[in-house]
């Protein structure tokens, strides 16, 4: 390193590197170090002579890159499938080794919980960057046994910008196989976005790779017995999506699906097996730890008709003076009213925490966007409800009643003494009922029958107000 000479220093002058700093944004005060950095960087950069033929070699390198990428472009789902390295068993002798040796092939029986049941057809390609992933894993799982890995997917997404990732199985001799998803994010080592013991009988391994801004991809590697993989956003919009994966030369079905936005949970991958069976696996993230009171009900309505939930997440986080990046939301019902109100109702929580709160968000009303924060949801609830107000020109509110799936009819009484009238549920939404409600109603009541319609055994009977509890009061 060059060191400055104390005897030859002259006063530093910015005049030799003229640059106007007044246009700089986000830095109200400049220090000498700022200026010196700027001058140093500009001085070094401008001393560089341009390349004689900058175009030379770009196309051939692009062809090489293209060969690395297996591109799938399927309409309807933003997805891409990455280039694949042939599944390779690699051997890491002992823990903490920085230079694992590569086994020739088939040197270790796979653990019983491994995704791949046979490695007889495994090639001997050098897994290259897998070594760093394996070394990182070995450091996290110290032990005496030798470490083996099987690279299932090694690729780059077609997103902008591209994201590089790997899906592997890694194990120590005699131990269980771990599902490992690695992302290229760090300067010195990969980030293991997933590192968990693989469930026996799992059909696929998935993990979430986070990219720039809101880009968030679900990477997956499915066993050869799986014919097709689809992505279910978990917001009620899933019907049947185009496949998000395609077979690779190593027999693994590899794919990347774009998550549809932050806060949607629990989304899942749906595997359609070659024998016709269908299995689901939740998209795995660190926040897969679910609140204890999260209702295991399907998302009903139509998420595409509801408002963008990102503002809901922002308002929810703001209510607790927290960062919206930590907030998650799962819709129970979303839709749009004939008057143009867009609404969504569900549960919101912070990643890794136990408690989910009832929340709703409405846009298009006369009072502008409206966020509602309710109490923590009762985990044994048989019905939840919320009221939508302030549609332009409307004189009544809309009471949205969302019963537990497969319960019976909903009956409503507008006051404390009147009779209950049965209400028609929305077609295709498994019991959800919309009721015109007087904004001044205080004593209206609700009855939800059980699945057999037995009047003597309602799953809920009580005041509507008890279901409309805000953070501090009900009604």
């Amino acid at each position: 390193m060059t060191t400055p000479s104390a005897t030859t220093r002259a006063p530093f002058s910015l005049l030799e590197f003229p640059h106007d700093c007044s246009h700089l944004r986000g830095s109200p005060t400049m220090s000498p170090l700022d200026d010196q950095l700027r001058a140093t960087l500009h001085g070094r950069a401008t001393a560089l002579t341009p390349a004689p033929d900058p175009f030379a070699g770009i196309e051939s390198r692009a062809r090489r890159l293209r060969r690395r990428r297996g591109v799938a472009s399927v309409a309807g789902a933003a997805l891409a499938v990455a280039a694949i390295a042939v599944a390779v068993p690699s051997l890491l002798p002992g823990s903490g080794s920085r230079s694992p040796q590569i086994a020739s092939s088939g040197t270790s029986a796979l653990p019983p919980n491994a995704l791949r049941q046979s490695i007889d057809d495994v090639g001997t390609t050098d897994p290259g960057s897998a070594r760093q992933v394996v070394a990182t894993w070995a450091a996290r799982h110290p032990g005496d046994g030798q470490v083996y890995s099987l690279t299932l997917v090694d690729g780059t997404s077609q997103s902008t910008p591209p994201l590089t990732f790997m899906v592997l199985e890694i194990w120590r001799a005699g131990g269980p196989a771990y599902a490992v998803v690695a992302q290229d994010t760090d300067t010195t080592r990969p980030t293991l976005v997933r590192d968990t013991v693989l469930d026996s009988g799992a059909a696929l391994i998935n993990g979430v790779v986070r990219g720039v801004g809101s880009v968030s991809l679900v990477d997956s590697a499915a066993a050869g017995r799986v014919a097709r993989v689809e992505y279910d956003p978990g917001d009620g919009s899933y019907r049947a999506t185009p496949p998000t994966a395609r077979p690779q030369t190593n027999g693994v079905l590899a794919g990347v699906a774009s998550r549809t936005g932050p806060g949607y949970a629990p989304d899942a991958l749906v595997a359609i097996h070659k024998d016709g069976r269908v299995s689901r696996e939740d998209v795995w993230t660190e926040s897969t730890v679910r609140p204890k009171n999260l209702l295991d009900w399907p998302a009903r309505g139509a998420a595409s008709l509801g408002p963008d939930p990102r503002q809901l997440l922002a308002d929810f986080a703001k209510s607790f003076n927290r960062n919206a990046d930590q907030a998650q939301y799962r819709a129970l019902f979303s839709g749009r009213s004939p008057g143009g109100l867009r609404y969504t109702f569900g549960q919101a929580w912070f990643s890794g925490e136990d408690t989910a709160y009832a929340v709703s968000y409405t846009t298009g009303g006369t009072n502008g966007p409206a966020f509602f924060l309710g109490k923590p949801t009762d985990p044994s609830a048989t019905v939840v409800a919320y009221a939508i107000c302030c549609a332009p020109g409307a004189t009544t509110d809309t009471l949205v009643v969302i019963p537990q799936p497969r319960t019976g009819q909903v009956l409503y009484s507008p006051d404390a003494t009147g009779s209950f009238d049965p209400k028609e549920s929305l077609q295709g939404d498994d019991g959800v009922v919309l009721i015109d409600r007087d904004p001044r109603a205080m004593n209206d009541r609700l009855t939800v029958l059980d699945g057999n319609g037995d009047l003597d055994k309602p799953t809920y009977q009580g005041p509507v107000g008890a279901l409309l509890c805000g953070a501090t009061e009900c009604g």
């Binding site: 000479s5 220093r9 700027r38 900058p54 990969p190």
Partner: protein
């Protein structure tokens, strides 16, 4: 890519590669790696060319690919071993200020790749913290804290610690 697209891409490369090479050089620290980094970034841009609708944002796209490629763990060379001693601009007096710049340049080489990238984006590209956050896929808070750590490391650098010009607060005459 069709022929008109290829020509458009070529024209872009000819027009902008010098500027991007400078950024690549500051990110990587030496000419050879800078050329390699730039070629990789431009090859990726070539592959994405037909999908980039907003041609006004091409510079931003290339810059993003440069940074992300450079910070990739797959590029696992040691930065401190790679920094070039590029001569300062011809005609400049290699006296005190260039000594200081050489010291700063060497200190920059010791920064972790992401810290260095943020410094380059902030102090060479003059990007806002929000723009840097978008490019690097992190929060604005992370940009602030990482840049702050980078500057603190520079201030703590043995060679710079003894130089009052590198640490004096703004407004204090040296």
């Amino acid at each position: 890519m069709d022929e008109p697209g290829r020509e458009a891409f070529r024209a872009y490369v000819v027009a902008r590669s010098s500027a991007h090479l400078r950024t690549a050089f500051l990110l990587s620290g030496n000419r050879a790696d800078a050329e390699d980094l730039l070629q990789t970034a431009l090859a990726k841009t070539y592959l994405a060319w037909d999908r980039i609708r907003d041609r006004e944002s091409l510079d931003g796209y290339v810059r993003r690919v440069l940074v992300n490629t450079q910070t990739s763990f797959w590029r696992r060379k040691k930065p401190e071993a790679l920094y070039d001693e590029v001569p300062d601009r011809p005609g400049r007096d290699a006296s005190a200020d260039s000594d200081l710049h050489a010291t700063l340049w060497a200190a920059l080489a010791q920064l972790p790749t992401k810290q260095r990238a943020m410094v380059v984006l902030r102090y060479y590209e003059d990007l806002t913290e929000a723009d840097i956050a978008t490019i690097m896929g992190v929060s604005v808070g992370t940009v602030k804290s990482t840049t702050s750590r980078a500057l603190a490391k520079l201030r703590d650098d043995d060679s710079l610690r003894d130089d009052p010009r590198a640490v004096l607060p703004a407004g204090v005459p040296s």
